[in-house]
Symmetry: D2
Subunit: 295 residues, 4 copies
C-alpha cells in the first residue's frame, strides 16, 4: 500500500520502519530532516513537506503534542490538500478537545480519521509489538488493520468516536503515573524502616505487581537511575495535564491526578528536565529527608 508517515521521533521512526519492512511504499517527512535518513536506507522515500507525505491512501502521524498537531493540520492547512477519502491514522497522545476538533475537520474535508494512540516504548515499537487503541468507523479501521498489524501485536477497537481511543490512552497514562507515585511512596516507607527500595520492589514486582508497568519503572526506582529518560518528566507532566483537562471538561474529580501534578511540579521545579518521570521516587524520599537522615 502507498502510505505516508509524519512525525519521526523515536516512536514514529520505529513504527514507520515496520511498515516499510512489511512491504508498504512509505513516504516520510519530519520537521527536522535528519530523522528520515535511517528510514530512507530501509527503502522509504523522504519528502520536503508534510503535504507531499499526505498523498498516499493512508497518512500516519505521530506528532509530539497538541501544539505540533495544530501547527501542521490547522496552521499548515494540511487537510485541504489531501484527496477525498484519504485515511489519516493519528497515533499521537493528544487532548480530547483536539481529538474532537480533528475528527470534525476531517469530516468537513471529506477525509477519514482514525485515532490510534499506542501503549509501548520505542523498543516495543521497534519489535512491532505495540498495543494499538483504535477508534473510528469500523470499516475504515478494517481497511488499515493490515497496516496496524505490522506495527502492533494487538489492536484494541474502541468504537466509532475517535476521542474514545484518546481517553483510554490518557486514562492509561494517568494509571502509569499513579503506579510510579505508589512505588515512590511505598519505597520511601520501606527505606525508612531499613528495607532498601530494591529489596522491597523485587518482592512486589515479582508477585502482586508482576506487570510491565511496575517492572519497568520499578527497576529504575530500585537503581535510582533516572537518566537517560525512558519517558521524560515533562512528557509525564504533560500527560497528567491531559487527564486533568479531560476531567475538567467532563466534571470528574481526580484527586490522585491532582496529587501527581504536584509531585511532578516539585520535580520540575528542581530544574532538570532530562530525567525519567520515575524521578518521583526521589521527590518522595526528599520529602522525608531520607538521605539527610542516613536512611
Amino acid at each position: 500500500m502507498k502510505v505516508g508517515f509524519i512525525g519521526l521521533g523515536a516512536m514514529g521512526s520505529a513504527m514507520a520502519s515496520n511498515l516499510i519492512k512489511a512491504g508498504h511504499e512509505v513516504t516520510v517527512w519530519n520537521r527536522s530532516p535528519g530523522a528520515t535518513e535511517p528510514l530512507v536506507s530501509l527503502g522509504a522515500k523522504a519528502v520536503r513537506s508534510a503535504d507531499r507525505a499526505a498523498q498516499g491512501e493512508v497518512l500516519f502521524s505521530m506528532l509530539a503534542n497538541d501544539q505540533a498537531a495544530r501547527d501542521i493540520f490547522f496552521a499548515g492547512d494540511l487537510l485541504s490538500g489531501m484527496d477525498k477519502g484519504t485515511i489519516h491514522v493519528n497515533h499521537a497522545t493528544i487532548s480530547l478537545a483536539l481529538a474532537r476538533e480533528l475528527a470534525q475537520a476531517h469530516a468537513q474535508h471529506g477525509l477519514e480519521y482514525v485515532a490510534a494512540p499506542v501503549f509501548g516504548r520505542p523498543d516495543v515499537a521497534a519489535a512491532g509489538k505495540l498495543n494499538i487503541l483504535a477508534a473510528g468507523k469500523p470499516a475504515v479501521i478494517e481497511r488499515v488493520r493490515p497496516l496496524l498489524d505490522a506495527m502492533g501485536s494487538r489492536i484494541w477497537p474502541l468504537g466509532e468516536a475517535p476521542e474514545r481511543a484518546n481517553v483510554v490512552k490518557i486514562a492509561g497514562n494517568f494509571m502509569l503515573g499513579a503506579a510510579i507515585e505508589s512505588m515512590a511512596e511505598a519505597s520511601a516507607l520501606a527505606r525508612a524502616h531499613g528495607v532498601s527500595a530494591a529489596d522491597f520492589l523485587e518482592v512486589m514486582t515479582s508477585t502482586l505487581f508482576a506487570a510491565p508497568a511496575y517492572q519497568g519503572y520499578g527497576k529504575l526506582i530500585a537503581e535510582q537511575r533516572y537518566t537517560p529518560a525512558g519517558f521524560a518528566l515533562p512528557l509525564g507532566y504533560k500527560d497528567i495535564g491531559l487527564a486533568l483537562a479531560a476531567a475538567d471538561a467532563s466534571r470528574v474529580p481526580l484527586p490522585l491526578a491532582g496529587l501527581l501534578r504536584d509531585s511532578l511540579l516539585e520535580a520540575l521545579s528542581a530544574g532538570d528536565e532530562n530525567v525519567d518521570w520515575s524521578i518521583l521516587a526521589q521527590v518522595a524520599a526528599r520529602r522525608a529527608h531520607l538521605d539527610e537522615r542516613g536512611l
Copy 2:
C-alpha cells in the same frame, strides 16, 4: 513435625490445612470454636485454649489485627507458658509498633520469633501458593522453611529484624489500595467519555497492568460487584491506617496514603461494611455524579 496453629479465619484455615496435608501433626485453636471442625476432619487436633496449641515445636498464628494479638499474647500471657526455644511464626498483618513489642517479648521469654506476613487471598492460600515474607534469625527461618514451603510457593527472606517483613507487607497493601484508587478514578474518567469501565479495564489489565492485583480488583470494578467482599472495606481501611502509623513513626509523608484514607472513609460513612474495598470505584463515580448524569 508437631505444630500448633491459632487464628482460623479464611486465611488461617487454608494455611493450616496445607500443614496437615503435608503430614505435620497440627493442633488448632480458634476463639470461636466452629472453625476447627473442617480441620479436625482433615486430621488436626482441636484444643480448648490457645496455650495448649502452643506446646509444639512451632506455633503459627494468623490473628485478625493488633487487638486480637495483644489479647492473646499479652493480656492472655500466652508466652509465659511456652517452652524455651519454641518458634512462633506470626503471619498476621500487624503494626510495626506491635511487631517490635512482640520481638522483644519473645526474646525475654527465651522464644524464637519469625514475622511471616503473606500476600495472597484465601484461594491462593488453599492452593499452597502464597508469597510468604519472612524476617527473623536466618537459622530459625531455615528450621521452619519446610513448613512454610507447605503453605507458599515462594519464601522471601527479608533479614533479621521481624518488623522488616511487616513493613514490606504494610507498604505492599498500601500499593494495592493505590492500584484500586487509580483504577477507580481512571475508570470514572473513561465512563464520563463514553467508554465503559469494563472496556477500559480490559485493555489496561491485558497490557501494561497484566498483574494479579489489577486483574483481580479490575474484574470487581468492571462488574461493579462489591459483595461478597474478597477483602473487606474495614480491613483495607485498617491496613492504610497501619501504613499511616508507620509513616508517622518514621516521619515519612505519604500523600497518596492520606488520599486513600479519605476515600475509604467516604465509603465507610455510607454505612455498609460488608463490601470489598474496591468499592472505591463507586466513590469515584459518585463524586462525579456519573449515575445521576446518565454517564
Copy 3:
C-alpha cells in the same frame, strides 16, 4: 476628568457609578446594552461601541474573564483606535499570561496600562470601599489615583510589572477558597459530633477568624444558604484554575489548590451552577453522608 468604563456587571456598574458621583465625565459601554441605563440616569453617556468609550483620558475595564478581554482588546482590536498616552486601568481578574500579553500590547500601541484588580463584593464596590491592588508605572498610578480613590477605600501599590497585581489577586482568591474548604470540613467534623455548623462557626468567626472572609462565607455555611450566589461556583472554579495555571507557569506545587479544584469539580458535577462557591460545605457533608446518618 473624561473617562470611559466598559464591562458593567454588578461590580463594574457599582464602580462606574462612584466615578460619576465624584464628578467625572463618564462614557459607558457594555456588551449587553441594558446595563448602561442606571448609569445614564446618574449622568453617564452610553455609547454603542467599546472604541467610543475608549476616547477619554482613561479607560476603565471590568470584564468577566480572559475570553471577554481577548474578544475586546485583541479580536476587537480596541487598542489600535486609542490615542497615544491614554491610560487603561484593567480591574478584571485575569490570568498572568494575559496580564503579560496586555502589558506588552499596550506598550506597542503607545498606551499606558495599569493592572488594578480589586477585593470586595458588589455592595462594597457600591460603597466605594474596595481594596484596589495597583501595578504599573508609579507616575501613571499617581495620575489615576484620584479616580481610584473614588472607588476604593485603599489603594495598594504593588510595583511596576502589571502581573504583580494580578498574582496577588489570584493568590488572594485561592486563600478565600481555602478558607471556605477549611470551614466546610471543620463544620462537618463538628456536626458529626453534635455541634451544629452555626454554633461552631459563631465561635470561630467571633474569635480567631473574626475577618470579613470568614464572617461572610461562614454565615452562608451556617445557614446552608447557597443561593442567590454571592460569588458563583463556576467563577470560584475559574479562579482556582487561574491559581493552578500560575503555579504551572512558575513551577510551584500548590496541593491545597489541587484539593480545592477537586472539591469544586465535585460540586459542579452535581449540575447546579447558580450557587455560591461556599457550597463546598455541602460537598464536605455529603462525603461524610451526614444527612443520611441524621447527623
Copy 4:
C-alpha cells in the same frame, strides 16, 4: 474560693496567676517543681502531689496532652481521692476519646466535670482575655463562671456533653493549620512571581483576612521567623492528629487535614522540632525550590 491548679506550663501558669489576682485561694502543683515559684510569689500555695491540689472546691487542669492526663487521672488515680461534688475544669486540648472516658470516670466517682479548652496564646492568657469553650452541666458551669471570667474575656457555653467543647477546639485548631498552609502556598506563588511574602501578606491580613489567626502567623511567615516557637511544630502535628482521630471515629473525610498532616510530617522529618508550625511556609517554598531558583 478555694481552688487547685495542676499543669503549669506557659498557659497554665498565666491562667492560674489570674485566679490568684482575682482573690482566690489557689493551690498549685506541677510535675517539674520550678514552675510553681512565680505563682507562690503571687500568693499561691505549692504542694508536692497532685492529689493535694485537688482538695478544693474546684480543680483546674491544663496538662500537655492525652498521655499526661492519663498518667495523672487514671494511672495516678487522682479521682478516687477527691471529695464527692468537687468540680474538675479541664482546659487541655485532648482527644474526644479521652474526653468521653474522663466524663464517665468523673461521673462514676461522683465528681463534676467541665471541659473548657481555650483559644489564645500565653500572652492572651496572661491578659485574662482567653476565649473559653465550656461544656458540662449548665448549673456547674454557672458555679465556675466567676472563675472562668477571671481568665477569659468570653465564655462560650457549648452544651452538656463535655466532648462538644473538645471537638470545637480540635476543629478550630485544624482551621488554624489550614490558614497557615493557605498562606504558605499562596506566598510561595506570590514569591515566584516577584511579590515578596511580606508584601503579599500585608495586603491580605489588612483586608479580607484581618483576623488574629492570620495576622499572627502571617507576621511569622513574612519575616521567616520560626523560632522561638509560638506554637511548636510537634504540638501542631499532634493537634492535626486529634482532628484525624475524631474524623476516624465519626467517619468524616477531611482531605485538608490529611494534606496538613503530610506537610507537617515533611517539616518534622527535617529534624528540628523547636520551630513554630508556621514553618509550613518553608516547606511550601522548598517544594518549589524557590531559594535555589533565586525567587
